[in-house]
């Protein structure tokens, strides 16, 4: 194999770049070509895998692989954009394709993480994806230059075409891809500077939209495999309980019913259609062992959390200065206690998984998952097979929001049922099952105490949060009481508070908790930002300027706050009975501020007029997708703030469907104005960061309207509702 050496000069000339670029060292496992695998030697007519992420077809079209899950957030388009930017291919001829978790395992994690959470898809993979594009381009140019017998310095790439500048000769990517795939990748490449980007930052139409307007995407619930049966399931309504018994004979003779399957903590009916399965399940007599949790109710849970506010057993997650001394010597002390309830994810598509346990030991699952690797591991563990025996087929996700990643309970159930029945089974939960067997946002209480000096300046702050731990619930860690997620936005706050302590009291409750879009930032930002308005109110200061005074050392947060305030016309007169609220938060790598404008009606109801949002995600990849994610996070967060509340009675969730766990709908949706203010020196997330500010901005607007602080969510529990 000929030696290929990349010189900085060579790269600069090929890419017609005037300035320098980021030099990235990397290691990519050797490429495979399908031609090589199949023994075909006429390489030019076969698609070629130039590297793990990029397959080039003979007609020059490009398949770019995606390892993260598309759940509406647009990464099926944005991640290929990152690759294509450096590759120099014709974007109009790019197709995105999911990678296989099995392939990832087999190929030594060449596709790296498949986890889709923490708003991490772009910021966590941008460097290796851009690098993969740059490397592939180098290889393609090298292959063309060798064929022509010319210097690579004299070649240029644009729109999937390599041009030899002196002679004007051209070759398409497809013509040299197979040869490029056999070359040794360079040891390092330069990546473009942001001002050289042609695709990143430009509005690009989403690749998944045409199918989605025609009912074509195959979601998890849409899977059909030969010989498949349908399953409906009912898990013990009391968390931690067990299945004691059931009377299968009562339903087994119903039309379509094939089998009743008892699991450790659930019972499933398998039938020819889901409707038949679900009807039989509803008629099935079942008894449960409720363990010790059958009498737990909301009052007990709140008492437990409240005890945590003063419990000695707590850990200090952040401390600087002398907060107690600051409080003792304060001109004025303000104290407030807040509560935020459990919340369900309520993805539009309920939990589902289709599983086939084959006789030869292979296991296949078709599942909407935020982490195909987690699904694979769960299926392998459940079936008792080597992970390499498991194939995960990623389907479209009807929403994720954190429900479909770390927790693979539905995958485990589907594999168990399919194995018992001996045929492929599509398991789908009813809406009620979905609402009642979630991993909920932790119910939380917080007590904040502030010290203010005679000028109304915040000189000290203590925070105590009492809440269950997500990490503990997932069995991951935090048994020592340290859960770094618990005090998101409180222990790591960007405000300049000279004396601060933030404590966490881990509370053990029987309700499973998990990652809910923006995780603990969602309630912690409400605690902190709504408290700041109360401090401003207590000292007669404007909440916006009060914040600016605390942000002298936080230029990025200050910038988004100023942008939101400016676009919302903060400080300008408002029509009668119209009020504004403002809030800011940094989460998942991005900074976001929002202003809510609402109009109070005579009966105490209110009309949401608009939400003005400024977001700094560092670099912008696809601008309209960010706007869509802002609209999305605002909707999700507003729904929670207005109505969201999961309550517990007799150990079980008291809500079941959208009648008692209601959702914001179109008629109450405010206008959302998004202003992108990218500062351009980092890569932040966008799926979650616009969520945390919305609840406090809304509460702050209501506080401005009524003078009454909102000490717990949801607002509907206080009779505060949209008109």
């Amino acid at each position: 194999m000929p030696e290929f050496k990349l010189t900085r000069r060579a790269f600069l000339i090929q890419s017609a770049v005037a300035g320098g670029g980021l030099l990235v060292g990397f290691h990519l496992p050797a490429a495979r070509t399908r031609a090589a695998q199949s023994g075909v030697v006429t390489a030019d007519v076969q698609p070629a895998e130039v590297n793990a992420w990029i397959v080039i077809q003979p007609d020059d079209s490009v398949v770019i692989r995606v390892a993260r899950s598309e759940m509406g957030q647009g990464i099926f388009t944005a991640l290929p954009m990152l690759v294509a930017e450096e590759l120099g291919c014709d974007w109009n001829r790019v197709q995105a394709e999911y990678v296989s978790a099995n392939d990832n395992l087999r190929r030594n994690k060449v596709f790296q993480s498949m986890g889709t959470g923490g708003s991490r898809s772009i910021r966590g993979s941008q460097e290796y994806l851009r690098t993969a594009g740059a490397v592939a381009r180098e290889l393609l140019v090298t292959a063309a230059a060798r064929r022509w017998g010319v210097a690579i310095d004299d070649c240029r790439v644009e729109n999937s075409v390599i041009t030899h500048i002196p002679s004007g000769r051209t070759l398409g990517f497809g013509a040299v891809a197979a040869e490029a795939a056999t070359l040794q990748p360079p040891e390092a490449v330069f990546l473009k500077e942001p001002d050289e980007w042609q695709l990143i930052g430009k509005p690009v139409k989403r690749l998944d939209v045409p199918d989605k307007i025609a009912g074509k995407p195959v979601f998890g619930t849409d899977i059909e495999v030969p010989g498949m049966l349908h399953a409906a399931i009912h898990a013990c309504p009391v968390f931690g309980g067990r299945l004691k018994g059931f009377d299968a004979a009562a339903v087994e003779k119903r039309p379509g019913v094939v089998k009743v399957v008892g699991l450790d903590d659930a019972v499933a009916v398998v039938a020819e259609s889901w409707w038949q399965a679900q009807q039989a399940l509803l008629a099935l007599p079942v008894t449960w062992d409720e363990a010790d949790n059958g009498q737990v109710d909301d009052a007990a849970i709140r008492a437990n959390l409240e005890a945590g506010l003063t419990a000695e057993q707590a850990v200090t997650m952040a401390e600087h200065g002398k907060p107690e001394a600051a409080l003792a010597s304060a001109e004025r002390q303000v104290e407030a206690t807040f509560f935020a309830p459990y919340l369900a994810h309520a993805t539009m598509e309920p939990m589902t998984c289709t599983a086939a346990v084959h006789k030869d030991g292979r296991v296949e699952v078709w599942v909407p998952t935020q982490n195909a690797t987690s699904s694979l591991e769960a299926a392998a563990r459940t079936a008792g097979v080597d992970p390499l025996q498991v194939e995960v087929h990623n389907t479209q996700l009807g929403g994720g929001f954190g429900r479909r990643g770390a927790n693979q309970d539905y995958t485990i159930q589907a594999v168990q049922i399919a194995r018992t029945v001996g045929r492929p089974v599509k398991l789908m939960w009813s809406r009620e099952e979905d609402t009642q067997h979630d991993f909920y946002r932790p119910a939380s209480m917080a007590r904040l105490k502030a010290a203010l000096n005679s000028e109304g300046r915040l000189t000290g702050l203590t925070v105590r949060v009492a809440a269950p731990s997500i990490l503990t619930s997932l069995g991951m860690k935090a048994d020592d009481g340290h859960d770094p997620f618990a005090l998101q936005g409180l222990a790591d706050s960007f405000y300049d508070v000279p004396n601060l302590r933030a404590d966490y009291a881990l509370r053990r409750l029987h309700v499973p908790v998990g990652f809910w879009r923006s995780v603990n930032h969602s309630q912690n930002a409400y605690f902190r930002e709504h408290f700041l308005d109360q401090l401003a109110g207590a000292t007669g200061q404007d909440p916006y300027t009060f914040r600016l005074g605390l942000l002298k050392e936080a230029p990025k947060q200050r910038a988004v706050l100023e942008a939101a305030a400016e676009h919302a016309g903060w400080g300008t007169p408002l029509p009668e009975k119209t009020f504004r609220g403002i809030a800011v938060e940094t989460s998942y790598g991005s900074h976001c501020a929002q202003v809510v404008e609402l109009q109070l009606e005579d009966d105490g109801r209110f009309r949401l007029l608009r939400v003005v949002c400024a977001i700094d995600p560092g670099h912008v990849v696809n601008p309209d997708t960010i706007a869509a994610q802002v609209e999305s996070a605002v909707t999700y967060g507003l729904t929670a703030a207005l109505f969201g509340e999961i309550t517990i009675g007799k150990g079980r969730v008291e809500q079941g469907n959208f009648d008692d766990y209601p959702m914001l709908t179109l008629r109450d949706m405010p206008v959302v104005e998004t202003h992108l203010v990218p500062s351009g020196d980092f890569w932040g997330g966008v799926g979650e960061p616009p969520l945390p500010p919305i609840a406090p901005a809304l509460c702050n607007a209501l506080y401005a309207a009524t003078g009454k602080p909102i000490q717990s969510l949801p607002l509907s529990a206080h009779g505060l509702r949209p008109a």
């Binding site: 957030q73 939209v209 195959v218 619930t221 598509e349 929001f401 996070a633």
Partner: protein, 153 residues
């Protein structure tokens, strides 16, 4: 045997007449564009047209529609409807799960009221979307209506 006319095709079905139309479409006719979201008529993910009117298929026993004309998202065609085109231009869908229902509800609204007001849209589009596409749904509906007005002129 029960007859059902869906998207211009007549099907003979040997089926429990109480089965909701949604499950006949999905599990018997393999038309998966119509989605299950709640089973109680609250979310609208299963919205189809019965004799051109928007209906929530999870609530309707199949026997009640056997003499009627049923249209699903698949019957709207490959995205050629004005509503679908507006949806595409404004990039309405996110995860896409509720969108067939949203689109079917919107097409039915425009058929009944070619120039809907915001209040008409508020009253007609009660579908739930967890991704928060509401504002784009409204904009796309109004854009499709404007297009319809222009072509009528």
């Amino acid at each position: 045997m029960l007859q059902l006319k869906v998207n211009g095709q007549t099907h003979e079905l040997d089926i429990d007449p109480d089965t909701p139309l949604l499950w006949v479409l999905r599990d018997h006719l393999h038309l998966h564009g119509t989605k299950y979201g709640c089973g109680t008529g609250l979310c609208g993910s299963c919205t189809v047209h019965v004799d051109d009117r928007a209906v929530r298929a999870c609530l309707v026993p199949v026997s009640a529609v056997s003499s009627k004309v049923v249209t699903t998202i698949e019957g709207l065609g490959e995205g050629s409807d004005a509503v679908q085109q507006a949806w595409r231009e404004l990039e309405v869908p996110q995860c896409g799960y509720c969108q067939p229902g949203m689109i079917m509800a919107s097409v039915a609204l425009l058929r009944e009221k070619p120039s809907p007001t915001n209040a008409d849209i508020d009253a007609a589009i009660t579908n739930i979307c967890r991704c928060g596409t509401y504002n784009r749904v409204r904009q796309a509906l109004l854009a499709a209506a404007r297009k319809g007005e222009a072509s009528d002129a």
